[in-house]
Symmetry: C2
Subunit: 488 residues, 2 copies
């Protein structure tokens, strides 16, 4: 692709200057509309070393109010970043609605570098799949994604490298990889080409930019961005295709068919609790040592007993190795981003356990039922959440998802008890009563959720919690079993 | 101190069990009051290696709802963390109001480790000063700070080390430092003692805990926390002493005495702009290489021309090396913490430039005038902000603070112009008009701010901005001069 691209002809100096001025003014005047339309924009700047990515971004942002953009300079992952899924550091930086995020450079650079270092076909293909899913879930959720590859010839690159190296204050800008690229220019071009072709999708196409001159490159980029913004701002309500599920799903029972008469005696409970907590304690040490990340998700009816259940898990864990994330309604800076952002930013380091008290599944429960997102949004979310969990699985995470089940009568009993017990009153709010009125709508939504998101790599487990003791022991047993499996 | 502490007598087994149960229940029942009273609580767990800090925290948190606490395991700073002020990683983790934050361990561990490695007296004293200021600004702002030192004998430590080392899954818990401590027990004790005495302040006193048995240690800690919470919850409106300024201050003019007739011709402007931006560009490369952090602060009247001024600075900078932070009203998670938290979390890495478009000085302007904080709060803030900047200075940062000055007539002209120009209307809101009505109150507050916070390490610079060109060139010149000074 790089070889075949036919660049537009570079205009004469005066013409270039005139057009650049016009393009800058156009972008400047569009930024407020962007803000009003709440469009988030991602600009991915990739390209050869010394192709001038930084300087070009420096030019483009001159036309944007500093309140509306951020630039992130991404280089090789740090030790800490390597302890998270590889996509995390990119996902963490996605912009809020109405704002620009420039990546200099991004995931292409990371992946092609690894490929050039000899990454095998299989993991490389996995990476490409990740990228396509990542970019698609962004654009599906309203992000504009511009991908630029700044192209220069081998000769030009060589010239630039020696110019920069000559000066002490700019010499740090040249790293070994730049020089290596120049010596292996053809090989790099093949790898870049392969990557670009594999990720040149309709929702996030590539633009190859003739970067022989900086101002000319800036003009080409501004033109693409201006056109893209213009089109996007004319779009009205955006319904995008809902991807078909391609993951293997486990068959789940309907809520109404789950027998809730299971229980445990106090003696059995005490005995099993001690035994399982001892096991879990030992497993926690082992997974810490082996650097296995663990993600435990709790969803369930109000008053189903999630809190007490979680406590029996954490009671066996070293507090330095786990974190509980209670998930309430999103704050403004969270709501202004992709719905998975606040989970991507709360992932555990490898060797650690994250427990989510309510999760991303709010998308297909409360957000669906209260209309906080569109029908198209929540219908797409099943697949988006499966893909998210796939990403976590590929990273090496153990994922355990619990649905804590009770019946409507039990809930009423517990609500009434909370209301009548002074120390428990804080646990019950008007909202709980309102949600209770929507029991049937929730039941439909939950059945659909369980059916569509119980993948073989992250299946749902039902915790029958009319007898809380039974549910706690079952949860502990599942956690112990899953960890034993993973640590074998 | 460690040697002299007289521990309470450890109760018999049954008595210990009974009292532990009661203490746990007490903490459990207090947590909701804490939430209502919006008290943030910091629990700093320090102590000997293998003194059981983690396990003790594990016990204490059993009595707290997972929504109300976090535990952070702090070890030696990472490479990334070393690029920020040393306090940053602790400040970043302070809890929201109504919540607990456990540090295992914290700043004592870091500092005493360095001291044991041979840190000189002078920097060590600086560290102790930092700590006292840090803890004081926390408690002054309503944080409860509990500091525990878990004490065990040399013999006990030796026994525990060999027990843990015997098992593969717990062997990673022992690091070289633990063993070193045990071999140099007396030396360590002297250093710990010295540190504890130097930081044993009335607002954040130390509690030395006999940690020969875990349950016994937990009971002692729970007792201290319960007592502390009880006392704190009885406190009503909290007015704390306002620290006297101890920094050398530069004399600042009153706003009304600043001559605003300065201007530049278009030709002078263009010439100087190019020259200064070229210089700044070169300086940016150099400070990046020398890893000097730079913090540029903009405050000024609405429509004074901050945005355009900032743009002339950033126009000369490589976008990979700077970030502009527009500061608006705090989001809920920001408001729930110390007012400096959202600035501590936005500091640049060394070698980078952070530009703040409005700053922490909002505390003594808008927050003072609108009553968003108490009088005691904003009166304390002058010193708190000076100390904050001192911390940044000691870290090695160049701090440049601009006040962008115009007169009331100029503001009216610019407001009217914005109102009448469609592309500029977004820049003017009802709030701007409301603030304008409070011009005199602001002027008083600003004069006081300039007088009290123009330290010799972070003085204010006035930018006369009736002629925006003049102000831009002056800003650029000051930035260039300050950087040249710092990079000499």
């Amino acid at each position: 692709m790089l070889k075949k691209v036919q660049y537009p002809e570079k205009p004469e100096k005066e013409e270039l200057k005139r057009r650049l001025k016009a393009a800058r003014e156009e972008l400047f005047s569009r930024q407020m509309l962007l803000k009003e339309k709440k469009l988030p924009v991602i600009v991915l700047m990739e390209g050869w070393g010394t192709s001038g990515k930084g300087t070009i971004i420096g030019g483009v942002i001159q036309s944007i109010d500093p309140r509306f953009f951020k630039v992130s300079a991404v280089t090789e992952p740090t030790k800490e970043e390597r302890r998270k899924p590889w996509l995390a550091r990119y996902f963490e930086k996605i912009p809020e609605e109405g704002k620009f995020q420039f990546y200099d450079s991004g995931w292409m650079d990371e992946i092609t570098r690894e490929r050039l270092k000899g990454m095998d076909d299989a993991p490389y293909k996995e990476r490409l799949n990740s990228v396509r899913r990542f970019e698609r879930t962004l654009t599906d959720n309203g992000y504009l994604v511009f991908k630029f590859f700044c192209d220069i010839t081998q000769k030009e690159q060589k010239k630039r490298i020696s110019l920069l190296e000559d000066v002490l204050d700019t010499e740090w800008r040249i790293d070994k990889y730049d020089k290596w690229q120049n010596r292996h220019y053809d090989k790099c071009r093949r790898v870049f080409d392969e990557y670009i072709e594999a990720t040149n999708t309709p929702n996030a196409p590539w633009y190859i930019i003739d970067s022989s001159s900086r101002k000319w490159a800036e003009l080409q980029i501004l033109t693409v961005i201006n056109e893209g913004l213009k089109d996007a701002m004319q779009n009205e309500a955006r319904n995008v295709p809902v991807m078909q599920n391609t993951f293997k799903l486990k068959k789940m029972p309907l809520l109404k068919d789950i027998p809730l008469n299971r229980s445990l005696s106090e003696a059995e409970y005490e005995r099993e609790l001690e035994e399982l907590q001892d096991k879990l304690r030992a497993l926690h040490n082992r997974l810490y040592r082996l650097k296995v990340p663990v993600i435990i998700c709790y969803e369930g009816w109000d008053a189903a007993g999630k809190g007490g259940n979680i406590k029996r898990i954490t009671g066996a864990l070293d507090p330095r190795g786990f974190e509980v994330h209670p998930i309430a309604s999103p704050e403004p800076h969270e709501k202004a981003r992709h719905f998975l952002w606040r989970f991507w930013t709360r992932l555990p380091k490898d060797g650690h356990i994250a427990i989510f008290d309510r999760t991303w599944y709010g998308r297909v429960m409360v957000e669906r039922i209260e209309g906080f997102c569109s029908e198209n949004d929540w219908k797409r979310a099943y697949n988006e959440m499966n893909e998210f969990e796939k990403e976590l699985k590929d990273w090496g995470a153990v994922i355990i998802k619990f649905w804590v089940q009770i019946d409507k009568d039990t809930q009423l009993k517990r609500f009434t008890d909370r209301q009548n017990t002074p120390e428990k009153q804080w646990k019950i709010t008007e909202e709980d009563w309102r949600n209770r009125e929507k029991w049937d709508a929730y039941e439909t939504a939950i059945n659909e959720m369980l059916a569509k998101t119980s993948t073989d790599f992250a299946p749902w487990h039902i915790l029958e919690s009319v007898d809380k003791k039974y549910a706690r022991i079952k949860a502990l047993r599942i956690v112990v079993e899953e960890l034993e499996k993973a640590l074998k």
